[in-house]
Symmetry: D2
Subunit: 400 residues, 4 copies
């Protein structure tokens, strides 16, 4: 593909991390510990108990964190040795929690977390409003997959109310991999902000769960669908002469990821001060959260990294939600690092998408067992659960 | 009863509020707008859709607030005129939100909210630990029906871990009107605090809902059970010679309310600086919440009211929960005052016990219609819903 | 001058404020209530008692605020009527307090305060470091005339330590109208930031006072020197054929003010997102100050105004200073609006450049009397002081 | 004296710290590193340059901290080994900074700092108001030697305005060792609080300095006066039959220290919950300062130590002052521990009683040299200064 492109680029590939990191200027990370099979488990085990299973939200999302944080911290440890001047540009989900862990536990400042949700939202909303994106002024605040934004015209007049109106006429700028259930219009009017697509899990929990359960019961969960597409893609990729993006790629989700990555790297490299929505250290940009935690905000990205735009205090409803979510994130990360059972339980119970009680605890136990190979920090707990005879209910997962 | 008591007290009764308030030193408020029938609706309508219906938590609790806040603010307005030096000692549930509304919207500083939950917890825990209560040092922080506490011996050594252990041996100090489901031991150990009984709704949501639904389907919800007891009590009260507390009173819930009230009043009157857990303006006692909001904390109560004991920052999990709950409280109160539909929706969606979506919205609509007589602030919305033909599903409520 | 310039610009002049404001898109304000004679008094009266007299700092600066705030608020009131969509671009000193007053008491959001101090600092430091300014990344935080900044190269490497070293080799980027006394090198190293020139008044109070007293005793205070230059300039300006900036203008101070103004206006007008250091609502950019107060920070200025770069928490020393200064600013503005004597006293005593006691109070009294014509809000106090026979000591001022 | 007292108490004396600490329940510390001669230097060296020299304020107070902090941290280290359950009750000045250092750097929670200033203020104000102290409700907030309080009657009515009025009729409750200069009445009315006696150094800086300079020039500074009294006292103490407090003791300053100590110890020992004003960890009681720093506030002292009364936010002027003072305290402690010259300079420049510049720096240098024996942490700096030939100007000190 590079040969067919107009760019003169040298590609070096390796499966040796040390070799890859040595003297790097930029390190981009996009990995899935346990690959799509692990994601299948993250999705199916909760759904088998009628709880939400999803990659970054609900019970499944927490286990993705448990598997990912130890690995990203190993990478950071290697970077300190092998490329201490490099920037870490991370897409690995949950992108916000990964950034938080890198800052807080990795003690590594040169990190930027990226996500395509704001990219797509901006593009689609410009289309919805019928103006070029460059004529709009956006301001985002929140954490990854849980942020809101406001939009103004280039004179600074707030277009948010108008955009809310339009959203109820037309397609709502929904990320491709989220089932299309509308937000409550009066809720959006009260907040006078646009939530991100993932807010549907919180603002329309019932419908999002129902949709997931239907998929679970029929064509398979999202990971299972993606597996099929990926299989096709990998077959195509076997052809060394393939020099264009296969059409299946669009169905895959994650569009514009590479654009966001390249733009961020180019902005840092050439000190371009491009406006990008990134996960980064707060520094006060969202004053309702501690200054030292990770947030996802509009920033001007240049040679010194992200310069966050100070958003100012959120309104009552959004403030409460965000503080709860950050607490859940911090607990999840702490559990991922310590492997403490009580902390994992607190994280689970704090997750607004996981109704507390025996079912949730059972799901947590099954997920611990299912992901045993990738959760050495929980070895003692898993051993105890196995001794207690906990087994996995979902047939598909059991066979994996 | 007073004649039979050793106290020389003059009782004056009136149904005229102005007469009652005139020149009062202390005003105690314990009322239920719409009486127990309204509570039946608060409980049954959510349960009819398998959502939690409860007096102070979940969907029902929010409607109790919607009905109560306008009335308490009227009382405060009257107090400003008729007894501007009086103290308002409130038991009306939700006691914390009433205190918040009186401080924030009533601009009335001389208010103390009371609840018997901390009173009972202290008594039962002393028994559990096998020491007199005076040998224990308690420190509470949170908001009404959502607080935690720590307990130490009189040398200041933390007994919380030991108490947690004991709770799993013996009776757990559970308020009488909450179904007995244990907290997760490892969760309590992680927080190293004792939650209040109402935390079961949040930490064991599944079981608490299940229990409520069982009652709903069989002997009737709590309000219905209380109605039976109250009927018996009122029959007994018809006898002017009755000079002792009837035994049914103990089944009623709300034990030690009068003790708490008298102790608070006596402490203010005689500047006794008694240690009481009260709802009061924060002033920094719980630094994770704004200094101007209402909290429920250990305080020394004397002539100048409550002098809150500064608790210090909460841990991650408790901080997130508390911030979310305060946000929900503030939204509920705002909706109670403005009657704004969008704000009510935001409050509902922020409530951790109300999974967002069509069912929750339907429940909110039915409750609006069911409580029409007591919700003049929502008149426009109710008219719209009636026009849309929203009717109440629960048969029992429909007949009320 | 415009005719000689390559720009096609129409100039309309008027002394009628309503006419000037009508339908404006941008309003720039640069005025001096009481003109330079008032500044002479601000400077000479404090110096006559060996206290610092200066335009924006010390006793004199506070009186400039007392005279200016009521007028700027009148202008804002007129703008609400005559040009409600306009932006107010203010240079009037004290630029930070004017911005604070416009936001807080004028309830006017579309305001940006400008100052040439950061402009000059950036230019001179680029020269000191021997690199083009575009190769440097600056980050400012503080309040007007009391801010610090850090500088990095375009790879984000902190150059602050290196710049500190250079400052002790070469010219220190000092604003032209401040006497050249060096900062303590070890102090700068400890903070690892560059203070602004006005910090000399606080970090080298003794020398700055001594220098002012020498000028007071010899060639006259700064205002007196400027009066001479202005007289020459106004003589030159009488010539309608004068089509270049006279060389005297450079000695006047305030260089690059017009550049900053034009750049700001152009950036807002064309939504250019230019990086400019401005006085603006904090919104969390400086987390050590309330989110709703005015700060002076690096911002990206575009159609929606200033988008502040979140600076993050300051270190201990800078945090304390800044909090003290903001407190002094708020008290000064409050006194300017209420005319309350006790508040003025608190402001004076809070000013780190005004040692409290009888001399400071005497200076405050003399300044109240000297500026009587411009301080209607203090009329009662001034009448009382006149009755007490307070007279002005400084001979020059007495004759004005 | 104990034999003549009605109490049956065993006294054991030792100069061996380990022996004294072994298995202690309470450790009280009241020491002066370098004894009164060091205090003479703290006072005389600043005065020799017309700067304030005082034990806890100004330049001298900072050096008392530099000498004291390392020693108190050694004591804490010993306590961890020898009496890990003991309480440290500290009177050593500066009592607030010692408490801060013990909490922050000693990691020792069981510490209470005491001071007689609030004790005396309460006593004298009760007398001023003509009511028994038990009929008054006090609320203190601030840091040691820099706190304010409010007073109410036992019905909670604010008596502060009335007390302010009385203070201008009668004796003002001034600590014995502070020269009697009145606060500005309008300042007190604006704050509606009572400052502590030491606030005179900040609110009447000019007069306090003048008074100190007069003493310096005539009968000698306070330390010199105390040395004379102490000499007399020690002569008397040589008599083993002396069984009463000599009258000279009253002139010594520090009255009621022993009462405060005994009351605190008894309250902790018997879990009495006595109301005492103490230096303790903030925990939110003064929300304008970080929750983890030391403050001086009203607290209920019992078996678990100090339970601080949450004061709530301060007003603008007091907030700014307090934040500045806490910053200065933190810098002074940090310099005391690290011996870093730049940090010491920042602390000095942050001190509102030390006008920055060459004189202040010179004073700092002379004090470093004068206290060489007690400042091992500054050894390198002192060596450098000695090499530069810095000598002490004050003749009296030079001869010591």
């Amino acid at each position: 593909m590079w040969d067919a492109s107009p760019y003169d680029v040298q590609i070096h590939t390796t499966l040796n991390r040390e070799e890859a990191l040595k003297d790097a200027d930029f390190v981009t990370t996009q990995f899935r510990v346990g690959q799509l099979d692990a994601r299948v488990k993250d999705e199916r085990i909760p759904f088998s108990y009628s709880l939400l299973g999803q990659e970054t939200n609900g019970a499944g999302g927490m286990f993705k964190t448990f598997r990912t944080i130890p690995v990203i911290l190993e990478i950071v440890a290697d970077m300190k040795r092998l490329c201490p001047d490099a920037w870490l540009i991370n897409f690995t989900n949950p992108s916000g929690m990964v950034t938080e862990a890198v800052l807080r536990y990795g003690q590594w400042e040169k990190v930027i977390g990226l996500c395509n949700v704001p990219v797509v939202a901006k593009m689609e909303e410009a289309e919805t409003l019928g103006v070029p994106q460059t004529d709009l002024i956006y301001k985002f605040a929140g954490v990854n997959h849980f942020h809101w934004h406001k939009v103004a015209d280039k004179k600074g007049h707030d277009l948010t109310p108008q955009l809310i109106d339009k959203l109820y006429e037309e397609n709502s700028g929904l990320p491709k991999n989220i089932f299309d259930v509308p937000f409550y219009r009066e809720q959006l009017q009260q907040m006078n902000m646009i939530p991100c697509g993932y807010h549907r899990y919180y603002y329309r929990a019932e419908e999002m769960l129902k949709h997931g359960l239907t998929e679970y019961a029929t064509e398979g969960t999202h990971a299972q669908q993606v597996k099929v597409i990926e299989h096709e893609l990998f077959e195509l990729y076997k052809d060394p002469d393939l020099d264009y993006k296969p059409k299946q790629l669009e169905q895959r989700g994650g569009a514009y990821y590479s654009d966001a990555a390249c733009e961020t790297i180019a902005s840092i490299y050439a000190n371009k001060n491009t406006e990008i929505v990134v996960s980064t250290r707060n520094n006060g940009a969202v004053p309702d959260l501690p200054a030292d935690c990770a947030v996802e905000v509009t920033a001007y990205v240049g040679g010194a990294g992200a310069r966050n735009v100070a958003f100012g205090p959120l309104s009552t409803a959004e403030r409460g939600w965000l503080q709860m979510m950050k607490s859940m994130e911090l607990l999840t990360i702490e559990a991922a690092i310590t492997g403490d059972y009580g902390t994992a339980l607190q994280a689970f119970i704090s997750n607004p998408l996981v109704p507390s009680g025996e079912t949730a605890t059972r799901v947590m136990h099954e997920l611990l067992i299912a992901h045993k190979a990738y959760l050495p920090q929980f070895a003692d707990t898993i051993a105890r659960l196995e001794k207690e005879g906990i087994t996995i209910k979902d047939e598909v997962v059991r066979k994996m």
